[in-house]
């Protein structure tokens, strides 16, 4: 009977939780289950993250950064983002110019067994994984022990659907109401890293890991039995690990029924697919192409015929030093196959496949020596320019892709401060390319106050006549903690007319929006950041990619889920500029298949230009005021003939100012403004 009082207390507490929970569930509209789930999990998970842990010899304790190398500077430790409260779902947040609308937690089907480490099922999984004595493992570690296996990755968009890649498959969301996005489909198909692209009824997905299976099974492949006693010492060459059911390459799903996607093809490649890029050929509507960037090991020829990981001098057919091109007949995707493996690193003079010189062009001429930039990590194609920018481990590449099956290198750059060329994006006018350096591979804390801000940063290059020239670096200006994995990662352009603006993910450094209109002086205009998942150890998390899509910013949070944001006006970005960006609507977005942004000749776009001209003092204040007034009266008159004629009359003087403008940016804005005033549309 002693139990009764404690039970009664328990009843009371549990009833509170339950009634609250049930009340919440009923208050929710039926279309928002993940939100409710997010709330429910919050209470279940948050306390565990605060468990104290053992002090002595703690392998989970993060290491502070070494002191800055001489001549280098780090990020700002006094930024509000530098010391935010930790927490998985209740971390402190800081933002400027961005409003957080929603966090949709990662679906249950993409979480390991249970979120309760004391749960017998989790204990069983630990046992299966041969994790001994799990009582010694700090609880947060237990929760995230297999986090990367269920890590969210890149995003693609189509209509009202958002596709969030994951190492374990793809989650598809309905974003017709972005602030109230809902999960539609969890597609289970492990193999990492789940880079996604969408084209019409097809969804493409990258697979690179050895556990990938043709049948999307989660069981992987059995390990070889332990070596007989006495043989451990000698690491004998073991039997080949070839598996006919293994899949590494690009999967193609038919998503005609969004709630029942079907695998229609699985194109195997030697190194699998770390990322891929959708390439559309303006002259060929019947086919699309996929550029495959494989970065991991070359599989055995017993598993996939013709795969060789030898150096080119030993085997000219090596799977190293190339990318692969898959041709996909849109009407018959099952016939998709690799049609070429362009040697984009070739030395055109000697024919050496490993012809790219790395790190050396900053030195002397004549010291070129074949070295091995042997892979691309990610490629961004800009078909309107006929160009692609390849971020290819040791180099940044510029490729001519007018013939999409046979891309040809036209320029290559390197940088002494770059560790790993990771991704690339063009400015809309094609005059700049922003590369990223994924120093530390994304797993490390690389934005600490003592980490140089030229390392793990964006590098902005000017592009003219197919030549890249370095302009400056941009790194997240706020220092991050030593338990936050942070480095430059994926971003997309925000279509603000008259400016080059990119929203970019920095893992646990959050989201940063940078203006690189002047490539020599990039600066941050807005940001969002959360505190570390855990203060005492580095738990992998943060934003993999942050992309603008039809008026909203979506960020793929590795551990937490999917974030939705909207821009808020600040002095660095006005409401008119935001509204002008929102005029740009696309039906599909695959960020690495860059599309030329065209703005409608709407007056809101004119107002955005005007704000910029005012900000940069490119026009006298009275002229700005007169233009504002004329635009406003045209709007309030619902574009009456007289008011429109008045606008038209103001265009010529703007053209004149454009000719004498001090900066190319202001000249372009003046031209843009004049064009709209001549032919404004409602």
């Amino acid at each position: 009977m002693k139990r009764v009082p404690s039970l009664a207390l328990c009843v009371f507490g549990a009833a509170l939780i339950l009634c609250f929970g049930v009340g919440r569930m009923q208050a929710q509209t039926p279309a928002t289950p993940p939100q409710a789930q997010a709330e429910a999990q919050k209470s279940a998970t948050a306390p565990a993250a605060k468990e104290p842990e053992e002090e002595e010899e703690n392998p989970f304790a993060p290491e502070p950064a070494p002191s800055l190398p001489p001549g280098m500077t780090g990020s700002d430790a006094n930024d509000p983002r530098a010391k935010l409260q930790p927490g998985l779902y209740d971390a402190g947040e800081a933002s400027v110019g961005i409003r957080h609308l929603l966090l949709l937690k990662k679906p249950d089907a993409f979480q390991l067994g249970s979120s309760d480490p004391d749960d017998p099922k989790v204990q069983k999984i630990f046992g299966q994984l041969r994790i001994g004595n799990s009582s010694k493992i700090p609880k947060p570690m237990q929760l995230v022990i297999a986090q990367l296996a269920f890590s969210n990755s890149d995003l693609a968009f189509q209509g009202n659907h958002l596709f969030q890649g994951n190492f374990y498959g793809v989650n598809i969301f309905d974003i017709s109401n972005p602030a109230n996005a809902t999960l539609l489909t969890s597609l289970v198909c492990p193999g990492g890293q789940g880079d996604v692209s969408a084209y019409k009824n097809l969804l493409f997905m990258s697979v690179e890991m050895p556990n990938g299976r043709l049948d999307c099974g989660a069981q992987g492949f059995p390990p070889e039995p332990p070596a007989p006693a006495g043989e451990e010492k000698e690491k004998k060459r073991r039997p080949p690990a070839a598996q006919k059911d293994r899949f590494r390459g690009v999967r193609i799903f038919d998503i005609s029924d969004i709630k029942n996607p079907k695998q229609v093809a699985a194109v195997q490649t030697c190194r699998g697919s770390h990322t891929h890029t959708l390439v559309t050929d303006p002259n060929d509507k019947d086919n699309v192409y996929i550029y495959v960037s494989g970065t991991s090991f070359v599989r055995q020829t017993e598993e996939l015929a013709g795969c060789s990981g030898e150096q080119p001098d030993k085997d000219p057919n090596t799977a190293l030093f190339r990318i692969d091109v898959i041709k996909v007949p849109v009407a018959a995707p099952q016939d998709a196959k690799v049609v070429s493996s362009p040697r984009v690193f070739i030395d055109p003079r000697t024919g050496a496949l490993n012809g790219l010189n790395n790190g050396g062009t900053h030195g002397k001429k004549g010291s070129e020596k074949p070295a091995d930039t042997n892979q691309c990590h990610d490629i961004t194609v800009y078909t309107a320019l006929g160009l692609a920018a390849g971020a290819c481990s040791g180099n940044g590449l510029l490729l001519d892709i007018k013939d999409p099956v046979h891309p040809k290198r036209v320029d290559a750059v390197n940088d002494p401060n770059y560790s790993y060329w990771h991704s690339a994006s063009f400015s809309n006018d094609g005059s700049k390319v922003v590369f990223t350096d994924e120093w530390g591979g994304g797993l490390g804390a690389r934005c600490r106050a003592n980490d140089p801000n030229k390392w793990g940063a964006d590098a902005i290059f000017q592009l003219k006549d197919n030549k890249l020239s370095f302009a400056n670096y941009y790194k997240l200006p706020a220092a991050q903690g030593d338990s936050e994995n942070c480095v430059a990662h994926n971003g997309s352009l925000i279509p603000v007319p008259g400016r080059d603006i990119e929203v970019q993910a920095w893992y646990q450094g959050g989201v940063s929006i940078v203006d690189f209109t002047d490539p020599a002086q990039p600066f941050e205009i807005a940001y969002f950041d959360r505190g570390p998942i855990d203060p005492k150890m580095l738990v992998l998390g943060g934003d993999w990619s942050a992309y603008w899509y039809n008026g909203y910013i979506y960020a793929s949070e590795i551990a937490r889920g999917l974030d939705v944001f909207e821009l808020m006006p600040t002095k660095l970005l006005t409401q008119n500029e935001i509204d002008a960006a929102k005029t740009v609507r696309v039906s599909e977005l695959n960020v690495q298949n860059q599309q030329k942004i065209e703005w409608p000749a709407q007056l809101v776009v004119a107002k955005a230009y005007l704000d910029q001209l005012w900000r940069s003092q490119a026009l006298p204040a009275d002229q700005v005021a007169a233009l504002q007034k004329a635009i406003q009266s045209a709007e309030s008159s619902h574009m009456s003939k007289g008011k429109v004629a008045k606008l038209k009359s103001m265009a010529p003087s703007l053209e004149k100012s454009a000719a004498t403008a001090k900066s190319p940016a202001n000249s372009a804005r003046l031209h843009g403004l004049a064009d709209i005033l001549k032919h404004p549309t409602a």
Binding site: A31, I125, M141, N211, E224, K262, F297
Partner: protein
């Protein structure tokens, strides 16, 4: 845990015996399978399921439903995390807009619908994974030892910068590997029975500098040090590439996502550093001429 606490429960079973009957035969059962798996006694979730069932079907019986909700909450609080319960119930209420879990088949084959209770599972981990991490810790430790000599031994400014970077990434990676092993309850180094763990007798990992090479490096200064450091570190990093290759040539190895990603990054990171060092080496050779 639940077995012990289940003792007093039979005393209150008469509250919901009838509800349990309903749920046992209802379509709720598979949805609550997960709760079952985590160890809640059958009657607990039968009760909970029947509670929600009644709430849905017979709103006039709300009062009694609320009463059992209290019990249900109590029991769940001691047997299963609340969120599983809530997600199970919610999936009932939102049938139309309910998200689906789909597992495609091989190309051309139909997809399978999986129950909403589906949770993630992991591929098996192999002994080769563990040994790779243990060996690589030792391998990396030598790189840290080598870069520690730079401040007192090297003159080349570029080399100093490179040293900082190598030291920083290799220490970080050592941290990562220790964490990976510790989190899986594995020892940080391979203890071989009957083997002396002293430095000299340790089997050198591929590419590791011999004690003689390390001695020569310690004794060198200036340009000679730069040369020995660069050639030594190129050799050292080359060994890491061999270790990664051996790992992936082993059946069932490298399926752990953390390890796969790590090994791949080691490979590409060290290749990049090798390239930088080769260029620096050429430059120093040129300056000599």
């Amino acid at each position: 845990m639940y077995k012990e606490k289940s003792k007093p429960w039979p005393r209150i079973t008469h509250f919901y015996r009838s509800f349990a009957e309903i749920a046992r035969n209802s379509r709720l059962r598979p949805m609550l399978e997960f709760v079952e798996q985590v160890g809640a006694a059958d009657f607990v979730h039968n009760l909970c399921a029947s509670t929600s069932q009644i709430r849905l079907r017979n709103s006039y019986r709300l009062h009694s439903a609320r009463g059992s909700a209290v019990l249900c909450g109590m029991l769940l609080a001691v047997s299963a995390p609340a969120d599983f319960f809530c997600s199970s119930v919610r999936s009932l209420q939102t049938d139309a807009a309910k998200p689906v879990v789909v597992q495609p088949g091989a190309p051309g084959k139909p997809s399978k619908m999986l129950p909403p209770s589906t949770r993630g599972t992991l591929p098996p981990r192999s002994q080769a994974d563990v040994e790779f991490m243990q060996d690589m810790i030792m391998h990396h430790a030598q790189a840290v030892e080598m870069t520690a000599l730079i401040p007192s031994h090297a003159e080349n400014k570029e080399l100093r910068l490179l040293g900082v970077r190598i030291s920083s990434s290799q220490s970080d990676e050592i941290k990562f590997m220790r964490r990976w092993l510790a989190a899986r309850g594995e020892p940080l180094s391979m203890a071989m029975p009957g083997m002396d763990i002293s430095h000299e007798s340790m089997h050198l990992m591929p590419g590791m500098l011999t004690p003689e090479q390390m001695d020569a490096l310690r004794k060198a200064k200036g340009a000679e040090f730069d040369h020995l450091f660069l050639t030594g570190m190129i050799q050292h990093h080359g060994g890491a590439l061999t270790m990664v290759k051996d790992l992936f040539d082993t059946a069932g190895a490298g399926q752990d996502a953390e390890l796969f990603n790590f090994a791949t990054d080691v490979d590409s990171g060290q290749r990049a550093e090798i390239r930088i060092m080769q260029t620096m080496l050429e430059k120093t050779l040129e300056e000599k001429r």
